[in-house]
């Protein structure tokens, strides 16, 4: 989130967070305060106009936030402001000094640096004189600035206007829009920075989700492409394949794509790669989108690759999900969170084919770009597998994605003299001299065997790519 805003929220100024019902504005504001208290030593005051302190504490407890503890430690004050319209009768001139006094008292009592007002629009519903309210709100935001606190103000989206009561006129410095959409039965939450005076910010929509630790925002890609590259080489898991790769294997931190029709051995090659990495003591995160963990382990045992010990040693972690389970963004954020938490050296996505079904070509390419950039920035080697339907002409989508990839291996079925052979061919591998031969690729009881192709008769020519 800080990346998107170019450093976080503007200090000492109010930020407006608006969205429809259920867009988690409250959570956003609350997390801002909680993080301030727990990570930056900045106590906060949460003025809740709609929920009580107990309700809030309950809502966020499932995300691992202990509000009551923070309150006890005087790092947080939750002030529930209750205004009952029926209780109130207007009888003349008034102002909202009571609110100022309450807020000021709360801020001073714990030395708060962050304030959240959720949602201050309740004032408009409760008090009939909107002119007074508007004037007082203007005064409030100036007052907050003078007090030197950074404030988050939540509001509901209006019909055609940004907020129902025009709060954006007063909180003009930074406005964040939260959105919750359901498209094609997949629900996504997005946020967008609408204005942010005085600093650069991304103008796009960024997907986010509410995970088990609160709000996660997908980081933006560093379009500058200025990440460090490694010269180190790592084994593919199969010695002969390493030989084809300039004798040394892949570059660490590079991106690898293995394509092939069904049953050609893509997952097996991935498993060999992972097996070799775990043996080196490196952590691997395997995202499986088609087969279950136990099925993969069973299948790999048949070619003498035993992944179970690596899992036990916590060097290998599987994450299984069907792509159609949720939206593209949700997959991305989930992956991002897991990678951040687990810190692997190797990440495998097997296969990425089904992602093309849940997004347009452009969206999927954008998603893969983001993953690759994110992994490269962290020097994590990425391996992707994908089906292709036609060996001679790979689908357009694959070709589009392949331009992002450093090494592209193709597994093919080759027929000759009534026999079928599997062949492995390196379509490209940046930065190294690689073999241009098609080698035979076999899955045997003793593992993967790569050798010279022995075809009597006609030999299929590799298509130029």
């Amino acid at each position: 989130m800080d990346e998107i805003t170019g450093g976080g929220l503007p200090k000492g100024r109010p930020t407006l967070v608006c969205g429809g019902a259920g867009c988690c504005k409250t959570l956003f504001a609350l997390e801002f305060l909680i993080n301030g208290a727990t990570q930056y030593d900045e106590p906060g005051v949460f003025v809740a106009f709609e929920e009580s302190a107990e309700e809030l504490a309950q809502n966020v407890a499932s995300l691992g936030f202990d509000l009551n503890d923070l309150i006890k430690q005087k790092n947080l004050i939750v002030d529930h402001v209750q205004i009952e319209r029926s209780e109130i009768e207007e009888t003349g001139e008034y102002d909202l000094e009571g609110l100022f006094i309450r807020l000021g008292h709360a801020i001073d009592s714990i030395g708060a640096k962050r304030v959240a007002l959720d949602t201050i629009e309740v004032l408009f519903a409760a008090l009939p004189n909107h002119t007074i309210i508007r004037a007082e709100l203007q005064r409030l935001f100036r007052w907050l600035k003078n007090k030197g606190v950074t404030a988050i103000v939540t509001a509901e989206r209006g019909n055609g206007t940004m907020t129902r009561f025009g709060l954006e006129e007063y909180v003009a410095d930074c406005v964040i829009l939260l959105d919750h959409r359901v498209t094609e039965q997949l629900s996504t939450r997005r946020l967008r920075i609408v204005k942010y005076r005085g600093s650069f910010h991304g103008t796009n929509e960024y997907p986010f989700l509410i995970g088990k630790d609160g709000i996660s925002v997908l980081p933006i890609t560093s379009l500058g492409l200025d990440h460090e590259v490694s010269r180190e080489r790592i084994s593919s898991g199969v010695k002969e394949l390493d030989d084809m790769l300039d004798g040394k294997g892949f570059y660490r931190g590079s991106s690898i794509l293995i394509t092939g029709t069904a049953g050609t051995g893509k997952s097996s090659l991935s498993a060999a790669f992972v097996d070799a990495a775990c043996r080196r003591g490196e952590r691997c995160l395997y995202f499986a989108f088609e087969e279950s963990t136990s099925q993969i382990i069973r299948n790999m045992r048949s070619i003498s690759i035993d992944l179970a010990p690596h899992i036990k040693k916590r060097l290998l972690q599987f994450h299984v999900a069907r792509p159609t389970l949720y939206g593209l963004e949700m997959h991305l954020v989930t992956m991002y969170d897991l990678i951040k938490e687990y810190k692997p050296e190797i990440v495998v996505l097997d296969p990425i084919t089904d992602f093309f079904a849940i997004g347009s070509k452009a969206e999927v390419k954008a998603a893969i770009t983001r993953i690759i950039d994110f992994l490269k920035m962290n020097q994590i080697t990425a391996l992707f597998t994908s089906y292709i339907s036609d060996e001679e002409t790979p689908d357009q989508t694959i070709v589009g994605v392949s331009s992002l990839i450093d090494s592209w291996l193709s597994l093919r079925n080759l027929e000759s003299s009534g026999e079928r052979h599997r062949g492995l061919f390196i379509l490209k591998s940046r930065g190294m001299a690689h073999s241009n031969q098609i080698r035979s690729f076999e899955l045997t009881d003793d593992g993967i065997k790569i050798g010279a192709l022995d075809l009597a008769g006609s030999r299929t020519q590799p298509t130029s790519v």
Partner: protein, 105 residues
């Protein structure tokens, strides 16, 4: 500002009024509210009443108890239910409605 009348201990709930006026310092609005309130009480509250004035500038922590946002606010604590009247009480009609004098009769 000081309290208007010494508190009596006799209990006649229907006729005993506990009123709290919240102000923030001696501003014109606050002074007007107090003056208006006294006048209304003397004219309309035949029974016993007790006005307590709370200056939030001196005691800010008392604002959350009665959920005070607007200043001035008059809170009718007794008889129940609690009613809140905001403003300088210049509109006597509204004050009477707000305090719900029908209970008196």
């Amino acid at each position: 500002m000081e309290n208007v009348k010494p508190r009596t201990r006799s209990r006649r709930p229907a006729k005993h009024w506990e009123l709290r006026l919240y102000v923030a310092g001696q501003t014109p609005k606050s002074l007007a509210a107090f003056a208006n309130l006294k006048k209304i009480c003397e004219e309309h509250l035949a029974g016993e009443y007790h006005i307590e004035v709370i200056d939030l500038l001196k005691e800010p922590q008392l604002a959350s108890g009665d959920q005070i946002l607007a200043i001035p606010t008059l809170v009718r604590k007794l008889p129940e239910p609690i009613r809140k009247i905001i403003g300088d009480l210049s509109n006597t009609e509204r004050v009477l409605v707000g305090l719900d004098f029908r209970e008196q009769k």
